[in-house]
Amino acid sequence: MNFDPALILASLPDVATGMAITILMWLGGSFMGLALGLAVSIARRWGGRWARLVLDAYVGLMRGTPFLVQLFLLYYGGPYAGLDLEPVQAGLLGLTLYSAAYFAEIFRGGFEAIPRGHVEAAVCVGLTQAQIIRRILLPEMTLLVLPSLINMFTLLVKETAVLSIITVPELTMVITAIGSANFAFAEATFLLAVSYWAIVEITGLIGRFIEGRLGRYRLV
């Protein structure tokens, strides 16, 4: 069997569309997950007992079941609960709910790593709890968790491949389809791996750039 790059080149426009959808799903789901995860982590910490109970259960459930199963439930089980979603919508929602749980855990760890004295100093000069969260804890926590956030983002790029099973026309679905149509599985799989790798490398570069810029605020 020959390895034929021409097959790949011929289908580049389709691959580009798939890539665009992958990036869209990835960034859309990740950033919504980031926002939801932050809200969850704040509500878990300061929202009282009931909020903590419910959100602990949510985080436990999302982290304790495979993403694949969650997507199936959302896309194929959703209609039974009156939730009839297009593949892209289900994919975005699934990715958001899934990543939010992990982001919430990362933020929780970040909040816990802030020295208690930083809060006490703020209390002593008269800052209110809301001011302390906004001005002291959120910025410090962000600096602490930045490497973990970037790591999570790169993991999520690859999780988007799972969206192909609910027929989101993203990279994995497009390329495996090309592979099947031409019986060129090796070429297609190779291209697939390189494509994800490229996205991850670019993410890493951006991440290191941001970390470098924020280096001078490092905890002392």
């Binding site: 100093a121 703020a122 000069v125 008269g126 800052l127 001011q131 600096l143 605020y217 490092r218 002392v220």
Partner: protein, 267 residues
């Protein structure tokens, strides 16, 4: 002694962490304009006592008054105590500035930002006014030229001086120091102690938990010696240091003399 002269009074103050009793029956009066040094071996409860004054720890017994007002708990009609609302605690706390062993500067803000933060958020000053005030405060501790630096770019001594400026910017009546030089290299303690000495000369009311016996002997006016959560003795610096009547204090001071500390007393 008139009520006016008392900056802080403690009546029967005790503190337990669960079954672990840390402070017992503390009665103490701290007067305005005086430097009070809390001394004692590790685990004697002196830091806990200081933190109770700012209500960073809740005392489990007794009443603390700051500038005449009860802190955290007020006497109740039934003879017990009632917890005061957070707003009241915050209001009483405004009399106090706090300086910590670990400095506790906010790492994402410059020295100027650390000092200006509460001026903007609590005093509601606009940025320019707050920063001008903050810069003057940094000048006071000799660090105006470091205003734009982040804590990670400052030495420990400089960080602690910024922390002192941050506390002073809010114009407290009383400044509490919790082992302000204990996490500094010996060559950096001097610059912090000299800022504190200057503050004492300006007449600031200070309560200082310290292991710097030399500082306590030179700058301290009122010495309180704690051991196992109780006040073992208190008195004027001269009498406490020159004639340590209590064997436990004599033994405590001897460990410093053994390490070469000089007990040079004020005139």
């Amino acid at each position: 002694m008139s009520e006016h002269a008392a900056a802080i009074t403690l009546e029967g103050v005790g503190k337990s962490f669960g079954d672990n009793r840390v402070l017992t029956g503390i009665d103490l009066t701290i007067r305005h304009g005086e430097v009070t040094c809390l001394l004692g071996p590790s685990g004697s409860g002196k830091s806990t006592l200081l933190r109770c004054l700012a209500f960073l720890e809740e005392h489990t017994e007794g009443i603390i008054r700051i500038a005449g007002e009860p802190m955290g708990f007020a006497p109740a009609a039934d003879g017990g105590r009632k917890r005061l609302p957070d707003a009241a605690i915050g209001r009483v706390r405004r009399n106090l500035g706090m300086v910590f062993q670990q400095f506790n500067l906010w790492p994402h803000m410059t020295a100027l930002g650390n000092v200006a933060e509460a001026l903007r958020l609590v005093r509601r000053m606009d940025r320019a006014t707050a920063e001008a005030r903050a810069l003057a405060q940094l000048e006071h501790v000799g660090l105006a030229h470091r205003a734009g630096h982040y804590p990670s770019e400052l030495s420990g001594g400089q960080q602690q001086r910024v922390a002192i400026a941050r506390a002073l910017a809010m114009e407290p009546k009383i400044v509490l120091f919790d082992e302000p030089t204990s996490s500094l290299d010996p060559e950096l303690t001097g610059e912090v102690l000299s800022v504190m000495r200057g503050l004492a000369q300006e007449g600031m009311t200070m309560v200082v938990v310290t292991h710097e016996i030399g500082f306590a002997a030179q700058v301290g006016e009122h010495i309180v010696f704690l051991d196992q959560g109780r006040i073992l003795l208190e008195g004027r610096a001269a009498e406490v240091f020159q004639a340590p009547r209590h064997p436990r204090l004599a033994q405590f001071l001897q460990t410093y003399v053994d390490r070469g500390a000089s007990l040079v007393l004020q005139e």
